[in-house]
């Protein structure tokens, strides 16, 4: 024995899964809905995705390399995931600087300022969207167009319900459930196709990237609340398929860093998101509530974790 042996502590093997393989899976899962957005809204969508990705990665690189002078972690793909998620919440009519500033804010302020990957207490993409909605409300929420080449100004399905005085406004505008499922409706780039978002969510569940708890609790709560408040089946389905619910439930609320880690905590988190979304949509001033619901629940995640610490195997009841 001439060479040196490594004498480290066990275990001596590791799974193949890495942070970047997890992020890659998220990107794969987002791809169908993102591509559908490009199909429905055209080249303008490609431009938004590319600008956001370049801005996010460049921001992370510059901050880590030149300001923090630390290891550059752009290879973990988390900045790309943030950029894609953010793009999916933008309208195709957004000017070029909206994705650039949004992605830079998400990475620079929400993520790196709080310590980088794993330390941000809010979902960076959602927090950036909230910042932009507050700063440029007209660009962010006031200029929706119908999909296709002959795009005309319109409102989103949920906007129609809110502004048009109820569920009936939808059919008057010629929007039906099939369009909502496929994504052939006005809305943000990536949130319109409920079906493809569900497909991506199932992929993440199959790959064990996310657990079923948050999406099921979230979507289930919204559905149940509409049901017990007397909504018809068709309206419930529209409420579930429209807006950002599917994108939010499968891809935003399940963000590891800003959601609880305990099994029970994830259920509570999902229910909380569902209740808030319902309340905002039904009684609030905004047509959509997914964004703020998740952000609010992000903030209480550490508390939820603290109060849902699982019972240790064989834990003896305190007498």
């Amino acid at each position: 024995m001439k060479n040196k042996l490594i004498a480290s502590s066990s275990p001596h093997i590791r799974s193949k899964e890495t942070t970047s393989s997890v992020m890659r899976d998220v990107l794969i899962a987002l791809a169908p809905a993102a591509l559908a957005g490009i199909y429905f809204f055209g080249f303008g969508a490609v431009k938004i995705y590319l600008l956001a990705i370049i801005s996010a990665v460049a921001t992370e690189y510059i901050i880590q390399k030149y300001i923090l002078k630390t290891t550059v972690t752009i290879g973990d793909l988390s900045a790309v995931v943030t950029a894609v998620l953010l793009s999916m919440t933008l309208p195709v009519t957004a000017p070029w600087w909206i994705p650039v500033i949004g992605a830079a804010f998400a990475i620079g302020i929400v993520k790196q300022a709080f310590g980088g990957i794993g330390s941000n207490f809010m979902n960076p993409a959602l927090a950036a969207r909230a910042f932009m909605v507050a700063s440029w409300p007209v660009i962010m929420t006031g200029s929706w167009v119908t999909p296709g080449v002959d795009a005309v100004s319109t409102a989103t399905p949920l906007g129609l319900i809110k502004e048009g005085g109820g569920f009936g406004a939808l059919s008057e505008a010629g929007v039906n459930l099939t369009d909502l499922l496929i994504g052939n409706v006005a809305g943000c780039l990536g949130e319109t196709s409920a079906l493809l978002l569900i497909l991506g969510g199932l992929y993440l569940l199959w790959k064990n990237v996310i657990s079923w708890r948050i999406p099921v609790a979230y979507i289930g709560t919204v559905g149940v609340l509409y049901l017990i408040t007397g909504a018809a089946t068709s309206e419930i389905l529209v409420q579930l398929a429209a807006g950002g619910l599917m994108l939010g439930a499968f891809f935003m609320a399940t963000d590891y860093v800003s959601s609880p880690v305990t099994p029970k905590g994830r259920i509570i988190f999902g229910i909380g998101c569902g209740v808030l979304t319902f309340v905002i949509r039904k009684f609030g001033g905004y047509p959509e509530g997914v964004l703020y619901s998740i952000l609010l629940m992000n903030v209480v995640s550490p508390l939820i974790d603290r109060y849902t610490t699982p019972k240790v195997f064989g834990e003896v009841k305190q007498a």
């Binding site: 480290s8 001596h12 590791r14 942070t19 997890v22 794993g118 880690v261 994830r266 610490t309 240790v312």
Partner: protein, 441 residues
Amino acid sequence: MGEKLFTFSGGIHPPHFKKQTEKLTLENAELPKMVTIPLQQHIGAPCQPVVAVGDLVKVGQVIGRAEAFVSAPIHSSVSGSVKKIGKFQAPGGATTCVVIEADGEDAWDESVQPTKDWLQADAKDLLRIVKEAGITGMGGASFPTHVKLSPPKDKPIDVVILNGAECEPYLTADHRLMLEMPEKVVTGLKIMMRILGVTTGYIGIENNKMDAVAAMQRAVADEPGIEVRVMQVKYPQGDEKRLINATTGRVVPAGALPMEVGAVVSNVGTAAAIATAVVEGKPVVERIVTITGSAVEVPKNLVVRIGTQFSEVIEQCGGYKGTPSKLLMGGPMMGLAQYTDQVPVIKGTSGILILSEEDARLPEPSACIRCGKCVDACPIHLLPLFISRYSLNGDYEAAEKYRAMDCIECGSCSFVCPAKRPLVEAIRLSKREIIAKRRKS
């Protein structure tokens, strides 16, 4: 077959790596010319030497003994003369060893006598034989078996469970034993049941060893009260409390021993050692060792005399293949890394795993992304990400509050972590600090 598979909650699915050796018949290793036998190979009091340099000893002769109850005598594994008594490197660190040069005769000691008609023997006599034979848990923990078989009166035992899970990747020693000597395992189980006066026995085997399941099922076909329980492949199924939970549904309270729920658990190798001790009269002088991994030329399942140097055993497997980077006693999940191959095989050496540089290299840790996979994997339902964070920050009080002491150190958390963080390693650190603090106060 719609047969019910037994299992537990949590756990992980590491790759098996058993293909290399699972089909290889047991072979006897060459008799060693020199053995280095540590006087402490078990949990409990170390033995004192009862031989002196220059003494002639025979196979099976006692060379070390302790007065304490929680201890196990040590026997010579060769016939020959005692050359040295002193501190030598052993798998668990330097310890007092007896070095014996073999004379090649392999003559057995006169004390080695079979027990006639053990089926009628008194439980007390059987227990004494187990104790005198120096039998300890052969799965790797090396807890003296006679202690487990002597529960206090107020803890009635009603089931003996044999552990044939062999959930550690790479290892196939128990697999081959069950396949090639199923009767011996059953005999050992029956002796344990007789000592404890119980009528129910389970043999838990993971379903990646269906040939061993079949062999054991044939062996217990005419044994009322003994049943093979097929369990889902999942690490750490072989952990005592996981095994009890899977085979009986009982939950051992945190911090308590299996006897609390009326169970005694032993490895199948331990049962075979009991059978050898009682039926043939032979104490523990050898054991089955799986020699495997990417950096050994010819992987094997060998029956090796206790005290044989790792280097000699590896030599008999064609030597190293390429440059070895890591040498482990045991499996890759809980095995003990060695810094030299000049250490002896001991009673708890279930495997010698030799990894190439490529397999030994561990990925660099990155920031925790709070994915919670360690939470899902932990069979104890702990929150490894928080305990390890507190531990690395030196806040051992918080680590204790998050129940660090309940950790069984199975390593499932570190295995699944996508950020490759040293989770169990950090928890282990806090356990050590907490114990040190408790001793002081």
